[in-house]
């Protein structure tokens, strides 16, 4: 039998290798075109189902993987009685304060720093080596130094998280400087703008989309570093909760803590995206 179709690849895999013709109103060949929400919902539901199945059927001991209900019980228990003397909300509050305090500090310092690095070869020459030096080092590696230098109180914890957020913020803002079109900059100068006016009125607004992306990446690093920051001399916080629960093999609490951290980070990411749509509706269209 010969194939009478005029297009399409050969054989069984041909259909997968070539894009299908677009439906009217769509554009042919746009990468990643189509809805993915339903697929994600099905995947999440299946994962929870498999989780429930393996624990219900007893394939895995609860010590290694507690059932979904066990995790929910742990959650309700801590919500009611707290954990090691502090209420659930206190743990959440303390960690949120640490991460967001460090994040805000990183924004306030990192954004101007990145803009300066993008604008001035001098600033780039000064700050590029130290940032590129510490950026790839895991925070756990310099945690001991932070404690030796800044003590075991809040300062060293917040600074550790701050450092992990600072690098992506500065690099994002620095890359964002390149977003301003040379025509926009020339237009400002030809109206007699000073360098400072060009930075404030053209470069910084142009860099906002990149800065928002950097914020999303940065806050992610912040939550990643939280557990490390709460390893030493902490008495509350979500990272502390996870770590001390793991020492007593309270696996349900470990999993619950992980889910809570993920939920807060996810909610904040959506908040940033919401603000981004309001502040830079022109992203990708300017």
């Amino acid at each position: 039998m010969s194939d009478t179709r005029s297009t399409g690849g050969k054989g069984f895999l041909g259909g997968f290798m070539k894009a299908k013709p677009a439906k009217p109103g769509e554009i042919y060949g746009v990468p990643g075109q189509g809805e993915s929400l339903k697929i994600s919902a099905v995947v999440i539901a299946s994962l929870i189902f498999v989780w429930w199945l393996v624990t219900y059927a007893g394939f895995v001991k609860p010590l290694f993987l507690p059932s979904p209900m066990g995790v929910i019980d742990a959650f309700l228990g801590i919500l009611k009685d707290g954990f090691t003397g502090a209420s659930f909300w206190e743990h959440v509050w303390v960690s949120t304060l640490r991460v967001f305090g460090a994040f805000l500090l990183a924004c306030v310092i990192g954004i101007p720093l990145g803009i300066a690095m993008g604008m001035s070869p001098f600033a780039r020459g000064v700050f590029d080596p130290p940032i590129e030096f510490y950026r790839p080092i895991p925070p756990l590696a310099y945690l001991p130094l932070m404690i030796i230098w800044f003590g075991i109180d809040e300062l060293s914890k917040v600074l550790l998280i701050f450092l992990s957020v600072l690098a992506p913020m500065a690099l994002g803002a620095r890359a964002g400087v390149k977003s301003a079109a040379i025509e926009q900059i020339h237009a400002a100068y030809s109206f007699g703008a000073t360098r400072w006016q060009v930075i404030r009125l053209v470069v910084l607004p142009s860099a906002m989309p990149e800065i928002f992306t950097a914020m999303r990446v940065g806050i992610g690093f912040g939550w990643t570093t939280l557990v490390a920051a709460e390893m030493v001399a902490a008495t509350s916080g979500l990272g502390y909760m996870v770590l001390s629960a793991s020492r007593f093999l309270q696996t349900p609490i470990v999993i619950m803590g992980i889910v809570v951290i993920a939920a807060i980070a996810y909610a904040f990411d959506h908040l940033v995206r919401f603000v981004e749509r309001r502040v830079v509706p022109w992203k990708g269209r300017g």
């Binding site: 030809s190 009125l201 300017g286």
Partner: protein
């Protein structure tokens, strides 16, 4: 009398492992009040370099440029630039884009908006005052750029292929609009284009530039925009025998220059 004077201007710069680039050689040009000077030429003839020199974005290697007897040493509000594209600020609406130059110059909000509205009206943008610039068509965006350039009351408008990105129909309408704005404001204009028809139709004077080294090879005085103001019929002028004859003559010059480039 206001005038822009370009005297003995040359631009050359070294390139690694190659002979130095002679972008412009001994350019002499005067632009007087009410002149609409159009620069045309094969790519690499230095017309954009010349515009950048007048705007003050680049310094000449030799010679000097002066506006009303004052030597140009950098960008300034007496020489406004209209770019081909990408020059508007997408985070500002049309009104704030037009008022952008006035904001830089430190005028208060009420004055800024009053002046901006005058030029918004002149360019026919009243309905779009609050629109986002990226929602406008290419032609409308260029009107915003022109209105913005006019707000600082420059002595000369520098237009770097302002209509190059527009479709043919919009482009013809925009040509007529720019001519009317030029007539109503009395600004000197230095206008770069790749379209011979556009150059002939719009300019009072045409300079044809040739590459390697970039230089002014021919100068023509043009009657067509004056005819347009008398008759109001752009197509008729562009279809006239006189217009077509000159168009072909200039195309021949440019094609010869281009062919020379390919022979090298």
């Amino acid at each position: 009398m206001t005038a822009l004077a370009i005297r003995n201007v040359s631009v050359f710069y070294p390139v690694p492992d190659k002979p130095p680039v002679h972008a412009l050689q001994n350019i002499n040009l005067e632009i007087h009040e009410k002149d609409f000077v159009v620069a045309l030429g094969a790519s690499g003839c230095g017309k954009s370099t010349l515009l950048n020199l007048i705007a003050g974005f680049m310094a000449p290697s030799e010679g000097e440029i002066s506006l009303n007897e004052r030597v140009v040493t950098g960008p300034g509000a007496d020489r406004s630039v209209v770019f081909q594209k990408h020059a508007l600020l997408p985070w500002l609406n049309v009104l704030d884009n037009v008022a952008f130059g006035l904001k830089i110059q430190g005028h208060d909000k009420a004055k800024r908006e009053k002046i901006a509205r005058d030029f918004i009206k002149l360019l026919g943008l009243e309905q779009f005052e609050q629109s986002a610039t990226y929602e406008l068509s290419g032609g409308m965006q260029q009107r915003v750029g022109i209105a913005r350039a006019l707000t600082s009351d420059p002595a000369i408008l520098l237009m770097d292929e302002p209509l190059g990105a527009l479709d043919a129909l919009t482009r013809e309408r925009a040509q007529e609009l720019i001519l009317k704005v030029w007539r109503d404001t009395g600004k000197m204009v230095f206008f770069i284009t790749h379209s011979v028809e556009e150059a002939l139709f719009m300019g009072t004077r045409l300079i044809v530039m040739s590459p390697r080294p970039g230089r002014i090879s021919h100068v023509f005085d043009l009657p067509f925009s004056k005819q347009y103001f008398e008759t109001g019929n752009a197509r008729e002028i562009k279809a006239s025998a006189e217009f077509i004859a000159l168009r072909e003559k200039i195309l021949k010059i440019i094609f010869t220059d281009e062919a020379g480039a390919h022979d090298e």
